[in-house]
C-alpha cells in the first residue's frame, strides 16, 4: 500500500507550462537581446548605491566640474550643476523603472478586473465600462496624466497613479477581448456542468487562460509608461527635482542643447534602450505565449 502511495506521488510530480514558454522564448533572438539589456539596466539600478553616493554624486552640486564633455573621469560628461550624468542616469533607472512598473501594475489590476467583468457579465454593465473606456482613450494620455497630477499634486506616487490611470483603457480592452473568446469555450461549459460557481470559473479557468495576453500587454505597456512618465517630468510635473529622473534630465539639458548636446543625448539613449528592450521582450513573449502559434 505504502509502495502504491509512493508511486502515485511520483506520478504527480509537477511540470510547469512556464518551461515550455521559456523554450519558445529562447529561440527568439530579439527577445533574448531585450532580456539581457533589461537585466543590465535592472542590475545597474540595484547596484547604483554601492558605487555612487546619492547625496554627493547624484544630487550634490559640484560647480567646479560643470558642463564637462564626456571623458574618462565622467564617461557621459557632467551637467550644468557639475553632477556626473552617468551616475544620474544609473540612479534615474530606479525612478523610471519603478514608475513604469507601478503604473502598469495599477493599470493592469484595474483594467483586468473591469475588462474581465465586462466580458463575463456582458449586457448594460459591459456597455457602460466600454464607453467609459472609449472616452478615456479619446483623451491624449499625456493630457489626462497632466490633469491627474495637477489635481493630486506633484509627487512620485501621484506620477505613478497618473500614468497608471492613463494606461488603463488598453488593459480593459485586451482583458475583455480575451475573456470573450475564452468564455465560449466548451471547458467553461464543462466547469458549469460540474457545478462550479461563476466566480470560481472566472478565477480558475478564465483568468489563467487570458493571462498570457495580459502579460504581453503589460510588458509592452511598461515601455510606454516610462515614456509617459518622462514626458510629464519633462514638463515639470513628474518626479520633483533634484531627483535624477530621465525626463527631467532631458528637460534640464534642453537649455544647453546647442552647445552641450550630450546632456540630452545620454538620458535620451537611456530611455530609448530601456523601452526598446521591453518591446523586444514583449514581442518575444507574445510569440512564445500565443496559443495559436503553439506547435
Amino acid at each position: 500500500m505504502a509502495d502504491n502511495a509512493e508511486r502515485v506521488s511520483k506520478l504527480y510530480k509537477k511540470r510547469s507550462s512556464l518551461g515550455m514558454a521559456w523554450r519558445q522564448l529562447r529561440r527568439n533572438k530579439g527577445a533574448i537581446i531585450g532580456m539581457i539589456l533589461l537585466i543590465f539596466i535592472i542590475a545597474g539600478a540595484l547596484l547604483a548605491p554601492i558605487v555612487y553616493d546619492y547625496n554627493t554624486d547624484v544630487i550634490g552640486m559640484n560647480v567646479r566640474d560643470r558642463m564637462q564633455w564626456p571623458s574618462a573621469e565622467h564617461i557621459c560628461g557632467t551637467d550644468d550643476l557639475g553632477r556626473d550624468i552617468f551616475a544620474r542616469i544609473v540612479y534615474g533607472a530606479r525612478y523610471s523603472l519603478a514608475v513604469g512598473l507601478v503604473a502598469v501594475l495599477i493599470a493592469l489590476v484595474i483594467g483586468t478586473v473591469l475588462g474581465a467583468a465586462a466580458g463575463y457579465i456582458g449586457g448594460a454593465f459591459e456597455n457602460v465600462v466600454m464607453r467609459i473606456c472609449d472616452i478615456f482613450s479619446s483623451i491624449p494620455s499625456v493630457l489626462m496624466a497632466i490633469a491627474v497630477v495637477s489635481s493630486l499634486g506633484k509627487s512620485t506616487i501621484n506620477l505613478m497613479i497618473a500614468v497608471g490611470i492613463a494606461s488603463t483603457a488598453p488593459f480593459v480592452r485586451v482583458a475583455r477581448a480575451a475573456v470573450l473568446v475564452v468564455k465560449d469555450e466548451e471547458y467553461i461549459e464543462a466547469a458549469r456542468a460540474i457545478g462550479q460557481p461563476d466566480w470560481k470559473i472566472v478565477a480558475v479557468h478564465i483568468i489563467p487562460n487570458c493571462l498570457s495576453q495580459i502579460i504581453v500587454q503589460a510588458t509592452l505597456r511598461v515601455g510606454s509608461a516610462i515614456i509617459s512618465a518622462a514626458q510629464l517630468s519633462f514638463l515639470g510635473l513628474g518626479v520633483p527635482a533634484p531627483a535624477p529622473e530621465w525626463g527631467s534630465m532631458l528637460s534640464a539639458g534642453r537649455l544647453f542643447i546647442r552647445d552641450y548636446s550630450y546632456m540630452t543625448l545620454f538620458p535620451g539613449i537611456a530611455i530609448m534602450i530601456t523601452v526598446l528592450s521591453l518591446n523586444l521582450l514583449g514581442d518575444g513573449l507574445r510569440d512564445a505565449l500565443d496559443p495559436k502559434l503553439k506547435r
Binding site: 502504491n4 502511495a5 502515485v8 506521488s9 506520478l11 504527480y12 510530480k13 509537477k14 511540470r15 507550462s17 469555450e185 466548451e186 471547458y187 461549459e189 464543462a190 466547469a191 458549469r192 456542468a193 460540474i194 457545478g195 462550479q196 470560481k200 479557468h205 489563467p208 487562460n209 496559443p291 503553439k294
Partner: protein, 322 residues
C-alpha cells in the same frame, strides 16, 4: 412498470435575435428508461445540442418540464442544482476546446471530485483519478501531460473520465466521436458501451451520424428544426422509416459496401427559417409529399402509429388511418 429516469414535457427554448424569436427547441416530449440510450439525430441547427444543454440546465428552458427521477429540475436553484449536477453529466464534441489547456490531465479529472467533495484527502483523490484513468483506458504516464500534447482520442477519454468522476446516472453525449478518426471513433464507441454495461449508465446520444446512432441507441428520435418528427426503437426506425425526412436522411447515408449505389429520396427547396416559423409543418418546404391543404394548416402532432413508433406527418398519419 418501466423504470423511468428522465421525462421531458413540452420543453421549449427560444433565443432572442434581432429579427425575432429563434425557436431552437419547440415543444419536445420524450421519456427515457434507466440504463437505456436515446439517440437524438438531426442535421446542424435542428436544436439537438440545445436540447441536451437545456436538460442539463446549462441553458435555461423557456418553458416545459424536465422530470429527473420523479422531480422537476427545470426551475431548481442553489444546493438542489448542485446536487442535480452530480447525476447529470455531459461529454462534448470537440476534445480540443472542452479541456482547459492550462490544466494537466490529473487536474482536469480531479476538479469535479474536489468541487463536489466526493472524496476528501489528497491521496484518496489521487488514487481515484488513477482509477478513472484506468477505467477509460488512459495510461498512467499521461497524468501530468497537458491536453494539447495528446491526440483527439486520448483527449476524448479525459473528457469521459471527467464526466465519470461525478458518478453520474445520466450522461449526455454531444457528438462525442464526430471529431475523431474512424479507427479512434470505434475505440471510443466501444468504451462508452462498456461503461454503460459496467456502470448501468443512461445515455442521451446526440449525433448527426445515423450509422453511429443506429449502433448505439435503443430508441431514436429524429429532430427537424426544433421538433421531434419521428421517434421509434432503433431497429424499427431503420427498417420502417415513415416520416419523409427520416427516409431522406436514411437514404443519404453513404454505405461502405459494393453494389449499394441507389436511388435517393431527393430533397429540394430551402430550409425554413427557425426565426418566428409559421404555424405549419416545418418540413413542408422541402417535403416531396407536402400537400399545402393539410401540411400548411397546422403544426403536425406526434402520434403513435405503431407500437412505440411515433410520427409527426399528417399525410402519413392519414395514410395509416389516423
Amino acid at each position: 412498470m418501466a423504470d423511468t429516469i428522465l421525462e421531458v414535457k413540452h420543453l421549449k427554448k427560444y433565443f432572442k435575435t434581432g429579427r425575432g424569436m429563434l425557436h431552437a427547441v419547440d415543444d419536445i416530449n420524450f421519456t427515457l428508461e434507466r440504463g437505456k440510450t436515446l439517440g437524438l439525430v438531426g442535421e446542424s441547427g435542428c436544436g439537438k445540442s440545445t436540447t441536451g444543454r437545456v436538460i442539463l440546465r446549462l441553458l435555461e428552458p423557456t418553458s416545459g418540464e424536465i422530470i429527473f427521477e420523479g422531480k422537476d429540475i427545470s426551475r431548481i436553484k442553489g444546493s438542489e442544482m448542485r446536487h442535480m449536477r452530480k447525476d447529470l453529466q455531459i461529454i462534448f464534441q470537440d476534445p480540443f476546446s472542452s479541456l482547459d489547456p492550462k490544466k494537466t490531465v490529473s487536474q482536469i479529472i480531479a476538479e469535479p471530485i474536489k468541487e463536489n467533495h466526493i472524496l476528501r484527502g489528497k491521496h484518496a483523490i489521487e488514487e481515484r483519478v488513477l482509477e478513472l484513468m484506468d477505467t477509460v483506458g488512459l495510461a498512467e504516464r499521461y497524468i501530468n501531460t497537458y491536453p494539447h500534447e495528446l491526440d483527439g482520442g486520448r483527449r476524448q477519454r479525459i473528457g469521459i473520465a471527467r464526466a465519470l468522476a461525478m458518478e453520474p446516472k445520466l450522461i449526455i453525449c454531444d457528438e462525442p466521436v464526430s471529431a475523431l478518426d474512424v479507427s479512434i471513433q470505434a475505440q471510443i464507441l466501444n468504451l462508452l458501451r462498456e461503461l454503460q454495461e459496467k456502470l448501468g449508465l443512461t445515455y442521451i446520444f446526440i449525433t448527426h451520424d445515423l450509422s453511429v446512432v443506429n449502433h448505439f441507441s435503443d430508441d431514436i428520435a429524429v429532430m427537424y428544426l426544433g421538433q421531434i418528427v419521428e421517434k421509434a426503437p432503433a431497429e424499427e426506425l431503420f427498417e420502417h422509416p415513415i416520416h419523409p425526412y427520416t427516409q431522406a436522411l436514411l437514404s443519404a447515408i453513404p454505405i461502405p459496401e459494393l453494389g449499394h449505389r441507389r436511388e435517393r429520396v431527393k430533397l429540394t427547396g430551402e430550409i425554413t427559417s427557425p426565426i418566428e416559423p409559421p404555424e405549419e409543418c416545418r418540413f413542408a418546404a422541402r417535403c416531396p409529399l407536402c400537400d399545402d391543404g393539410i401540411c400548411r394548416k397546422m403544426v403536425p402532432e406526434l402520434i403513435e402509429v405503431r407500437e412505440s413508433h411515433f410520427v409527426a406527418c399528417p399525410i402519413k398519419q392519414k395514410e395509416m388511418g389516423f
